[in-house]
């Protein structure tokens, strides 16, 4: 093995270790349940605590310049999830642009307010409280609670409290997004490691990696592989080669067996 390759492998090993440490620090808690589940529980809790008829979390999609409903609780509930909304429209768009939370009331009475979108969902709220989801200085989404039960509008204290909820939600979203990036980088790293020696057939390992990448439910297995790879990469060259051979034997066995991963 030439010195360039050794340097490359050391670098890769270093990167893998870093990734694994990051996953340990940030990803584990989110991995216990899916992030959608966590966000769902946050909006349901928010709706109950604020005495609101509905609650939702929208995420910014910068490429499409839209806000997308990630989770929603209330009359329009599930119907809203996945719906996209122009970034510069409505209360949520306002929150994204200004980074300021806002509460408004009499939404439906105000003919000048664009309520086309709300009507298209079959749910026009009377009062809205919306606050930004921040990752550092970056606005990654909006959390809303709608229709205060037993009151005409949300108060300033509701606003401050929702800010605290939003912080938790933003943390969960941020972790999930980071994790997705880490996962991508990890698979890429593993692919490079698997194809480092062109004389060896690694198509099956690549196929396993693809499957794991595509199947969201199998992230934890993938992390386990990564963790092992991290340990392995810290070993000597001979040990690494031995591990690679074991993986290849496993892959060749799999080749003759019916495909079933996870």
């Amino acid at each position: 093995m030439d010195s360039d390759q050794i340097a490359r492998e050391e670098k890769l090993s270093e990167q893998l270790k870093r990734l694994i440490v990051s996953i340990g620090a940030g990803g584990q808690t989110v991995l216990l349940g899916s992030s959608d589940e966590l966000l769902n529980s946050i909006v349901v809790a928010a709706a109950r605590i604020f005495g609101a008829g509905a609650a939702s979390i929208l995420l910014v999609n910068e490429d499409e310049q839209v806000l997308e409903f990630k989770v929603a609780y209330g009359p329009a509930g599930k119907k809203l999830v996945g719906t996209k909304y122009p970034l510069d429209k409505g209360i949520a768009g306002y929150v994204v642009m200004t980074g300021q939370p806002i509460a408004t009331s009499q939404v439906s009475k105000d003919a000048r307010w664009d309520k086309e979108f709300a009507q298209s969902t079959g749910y026009v709220p009377e009062s809205i409280l919306a606050t930004p989801l921040l990752s550092g200085d970056r606005i990654i989404g909006v959390m809303e609670v709608l229709d205060k039960i037993n009151a005409a509008s949300f108060g300033i204290q509701d606003m401050e409290l929702l800010g605290m909820f939003a912080r938790q939600a933003a943390l969960a979203i941020d972790q999930a997004q980071q994790l997705s990036k880490i996962e991508g980088a990890l698979v890429l790293g593993l692919k490079r490691l698997a194809t480092a020696d062109p004389s060896k057939d690694s198509s099956e390992i690549l196929s396993v990696l693809e499957t794991a990448r595509n199947d969201q439910g199998e992230i934890s297995d993938l992390l386990e592989i990564a963790r092992l790879l991290g340990d392995i990469s810290a070993l000597g060259e001979a040990e690494r080669r031995a591990c690679l051979q074991i993986l290849e034997v496993f892959a060749s066995l799999k080749r003759s067996a019916p495909r079933r991963f996870g």
Binding site: V60, E62, Q65, L87, D88, G93, Y94, V96, M97, T98, G99, Q100, P101, I102, A103, T104, S105, Q106, D110, R112, W113, L129, T131, L134, G136, D137, R138, I139, I140, A152, S153, F154, G155, I156, Q157, M159, E160, L161, G163, M164, A166, R167
Partner: protein
């Protein structure tokens, strides 16, 4: 209230709930400072007010003909210092927030000149840089009062905004800043030279309170306030953002009537005229 609830209870606005407002006594010569002396008959003439925000809709009826110009500060990662400034002679508002603030200021100080400094937009990056650059523009262009219904929590901007706040102070400029609606440190609202404002639930635009336990010093109307919005709209809104321009408007009136006052004297006058300040019987 349990310890847990106490912990959850928000920090900034609670100083201005009816049960929390403290009655204060004006002492010595401060007792002679009254709203009638401070801003009676003033309409804000001769005062330039910058609204650093999402822009101001120059032809919205709520701002009359007060908008005299403005600039747009854009984030540009390739530009020197990562931003660009271009003139905005007939300013527009990309959200409604800036027009809401300008409308409140104009209602209180109809003869003041308003300048739109647009630092907010659709871009998701570089907000704090744009914000700082917008404030810098206002300082360089000799505004008297600057309304800042926005803030940043980024610690790396602590020093930059502190420096800007000092520059403004030594140029006799009053910065009026809404505190963050989320009770955590944010800049520049928490600097001592800045006039920081949170919301109370009253509706008289001239009724505001002084909080003897800073960092948030003033409480002004900001709950269910009818405000101007972009595209000639009006909305009923809640937020500390709408409290700050009330104090900015009153500050404008004071500066217009008493042009020789310095920023700290203006703050003293504001404190003396707060609704929770008891004056000795004359």
């Amino acid at each position: 209230m349990s310890a847990e609830e106490e912990e959850l209870r928000p920090a900034w606005s609670q100083s201005f709930t009816p049960e929390a407002i403290q009655q204060l006594n004006a002492v010595g010569p401060f007792s002679d400072i009254t709203p009638a002396w401070a801003w009676g008959r003033s309409k804000g003439k001769g005062i330039r007010v910058a609204v650093v925000d999402s822009g101001v809709e120059h032809d919205h009826p709520a701002v009359g003909k007060s908008v005299k110009g403005g600039v747009i500060v854009e984030y540009d990662s390739r530009a020197k210092d990562s931003y660009r400034i271009r003139p905005d002679d007939e300013p527009m508002d990309v959200s409604g927030h800036g027009t809401a603030c300008a409308g409140i200021i104009h209602a209180l100080a109809p003869e003041a000149e308003i300048y739109s400094v647009r630092v907010l937009g659709r871009n998701m990056a570089g907000r704090a840089i744009q914000f700082a650059a917008g404030l810098d523009w206002a300082i360089e262009h000799d505004m008297h009062v600057v309304n800042l219904s926005l803030s940043t929590s980024l610690e790396e901007f602590f020093g930059i905004f502190h420096d800007l706040a000092d520059q403004a102070y030594f140029k006799n400029m009053n910065l009026v800043s809404a505190v963050n609606n989320i009770p955590e440190p944010s800049f520049p609202s928490l600097y001592s030279s800045v006039i920081s404002v949170a919301a109370h639930d009253g509706h008289d635009p001239f009724t505001y309170y002084y909080n003897p336990k800073p960092p948030v010093e003033f409480g002004a109307p900001g709950i269910d306030v009818e405000v101007a919005w972009n595209q000639k709209q009006y909305l009923v809104c809640t937020g500390n953002s709408f409290a700050a321009p009330h104090i900015a408007g009153i500050t404008t009136l004071i500066r217009s009537k008493h042009p020789d006052l310095t920023p700290f004297q203006v703050k003293t006058v504001l404190m003396a005229c707060a609704a929770n300040m008891r004056h000795r019987a004359n």
